[in-house]
Amino acid sequence: MIKVVSVTKTYTTGTDKITPIKNFNLRVNEGETVILQGSSGSGKTTLLNMIAGLIKPTEGSVEVAGRNVSKLPEHFAAEFRRETAGMIFQQFHLIEELTAGENIALPLAPSSLSRQEISDRVNMLTEKLLIKNIIDVPAGKLSGGEMQRTAIARALVNSPSIILADEPTANLDGTLTEELLNIFRSLKSEGKTIIIATHDPVISGSDIADKIIHLNKEV
């Protein structure tokens, strides 16, 4: 379960202060799929980053699976991300010079898993996502759809219980968006908790959403 309690996040730039999220509450049950909707600057990405333990709230707390991630020291927050959360970014953010397989394996490099175990996981995922044929292709040479699947495989390689996706369809055409929705459906059926930040009506209007949350831009 994810509990976001009275969270406020304020960014300070020089003398300017921006508060994209103010006194925000959210509860996501295990296995639920939640869509975060809102205009640019409404704090969707900030909220995802706080749930992932990448940034800490200015006020309030974020609890994931019984752990207060907003209080975790940096080292444990990284470990938490590695073991619990998988992130999918708007622009995929693959490392272009690495192959698709190496990109997928990246989250496991600091782990204690052996090379063979990592290789097995990568093979299993590339088979599942139908990208086994591109495993040795540099990410910079992949098509949009292949990049998307590679990025998803990378988010899943650590077998996370939570998937956090930030505008995952922003760079995809209709066909690829539908493919992605099918992957999300499959993940949902496996019992994964999924939080998707999007303002794509195709996603928010689909059957995968258990809950749609609107975030308003704070002034």
Partner: protein
């Protein structure tokens, strides 16, 4: 050690083809130059040491009006009477301008009837043909080659102060362990040397004094000074110190250049890594989002810096050894030795000073490592919000 992170670091070095070769080459050259300077200084000091070991314990000169004058040979008889002195020999030597090469030859006159001199000459020369009175000379090999090229015969004509010429045959060349000093030296008998240099009869250039006990040198020097206020004594230790200072001074100048270059290099490195390196910042942010901790990112950077630093260092050691001992330090040796047409052709003695190797390592590799890791640490600590 996490070999998967090491793998990633090595990959990273290969991936950034434009960046790391630049750092590797610059860093290698910088270390190689500094090691070469230190190695040449050390080798030349040792080379000088070989030469200076043959010096007399004390050299006595006559000074008048602040300038060195010829000294009466008779004074040697007073000096030999001093307790502790085992020999006091008047020496005839001086400089002969050799305009063809725009340099000065050092003319040294020796007592050809002294068995010790004959024996010494036999040891330090090759193509031996005994030095004969008023007939011939010994000289450095390089000078011999040049004279052969100029005159096409084994003799040399010296112009004396009265304008007349004195022609002497070349009896042989030196093969001393050090050619640093002997390369522009011409040895002949005392009378010929005095004639060439214009030294009046009964006078010598200076007097070489040797003592029975090195502990007594300073006492003997004091007693010599008491003979006449116009005398000046120069001890072997003083000359050795002068040579050491000369090389240290030249080495110091290069050290200054080296430190300046080093500082500039690290400013460039620091600037490159500390500046808005978008690609790297983004990569760090991605890795953090994927579950890498700051410590994992720093480990990768440490591996990268270690690989670059150590490889640069090892390459630099090899390059400096090749430059100094195989190529004989072209360029730098001239700076330390002075420019001359009669460049000594000796090989630098091999000197491996572990202190120099460790010092250069400590002032380069760890500093480079810090210049890589500190900006990476800053980026890893603040990059969480860079990507979306």
């Amino acid at each position: 050690m996490n070999f998967k992170l090491l793998d990633f670091a090595l990959h990273s070095l290969v991936r950034r083809k434009g960046r790391y070769p630049f750092i590797y080459i610059t860093f290698t050259l910088l270390i190689a130059v500094s090691l070469s300077i230190f190695t040449i200084t050390g080798a030349l000091k040792q080379e000088a040491q070989y030469s200076l070991n043959n010096l007399p314990d004390i050299i006595v000169q006559k000074i008048s009006g602040g300038r060195q004058q010829y000294i009466k040979k008779q004074l040697a008889e007073d000096i030999i009477m001093l307790p502790g002195v085992i020999s006091a020999v008047p020496r005839i030597w001086g400089f002969y301008p050799f305009e063809y090469l725009n340099t000065n030859l050092t003319i040294v006159g020796v007592d050809i009837y002294d068995p010790y001199v004959t024996e010494t000459l036999a040891k330090i020369t090759k193509d031996i043909s005994p030095l004969k009175f008023n007939r011939n000379i010994f000289l450095g090999e390089k000078l011999h080659e040049i004279i052969r090229q100029i005159y096409n015969k084994d003799e040399f004509s010296f112009q004396m102060p009265d304008g007349t010429y004195k022609t002497l045959e070349i009896a042989g060349t030196f093969q001393t362990s050090s050619q640093m000093i002997s390369t522009d030296t011409v040895i002949t008998d005392m009378l010929s040397a005095a004639e060439i240099l214009g030294i009046p009869a009964g006078f010598s250039t200076d007097i070489a004094v040797n003592s029975a006990n090195s502990q007594e040198i300073s006492t003997i020097a004091e007693k010599i000074l008491n003979i006449s206020p116009s005398l000046k004594v120069v001890t072997k230790d003083f000359i050795k110190a002068s040579y050491q200072n000369m090389f240290d001074y030249k080495g110091g100048i290069f050290l200054l250049f080296f430190i300046t270059s080093l500082f500039t290099f690290f400013m460039i490195i620091f600037d490159r890594l500390n500046g808005p390196s978008g690609g790297e910042l983004k990569e760090i942010a991605i890795l953090k989002a994927l579950g890498w901790g700051t410590s994992d990112i720093l480990k990768v950077k440490l591996y990268e810096a270690s690989v670059i630093g150590l490889f640069s260092y090892l390459t630099a050691i090899c390059l400096s050894l090749i430059y100094v001992y195989v190529l004989h330090a072209p360029g730098l040796k001239d700076v330390f030795m002075g420019y001359s047409y009669l460049k000594p052709s000796f090989s630098l003695p091999f000197v491996f000073d572990i202190r120099v190797v460790v010092t250069v390592f400590l002032i380069t590799v760890p500093v480079y490592g810090s210049a890589v890791i500190i900006p990476a640490w800053r980026a890893a600590s603040t990059s969480a919000e860079v990507i979306r």
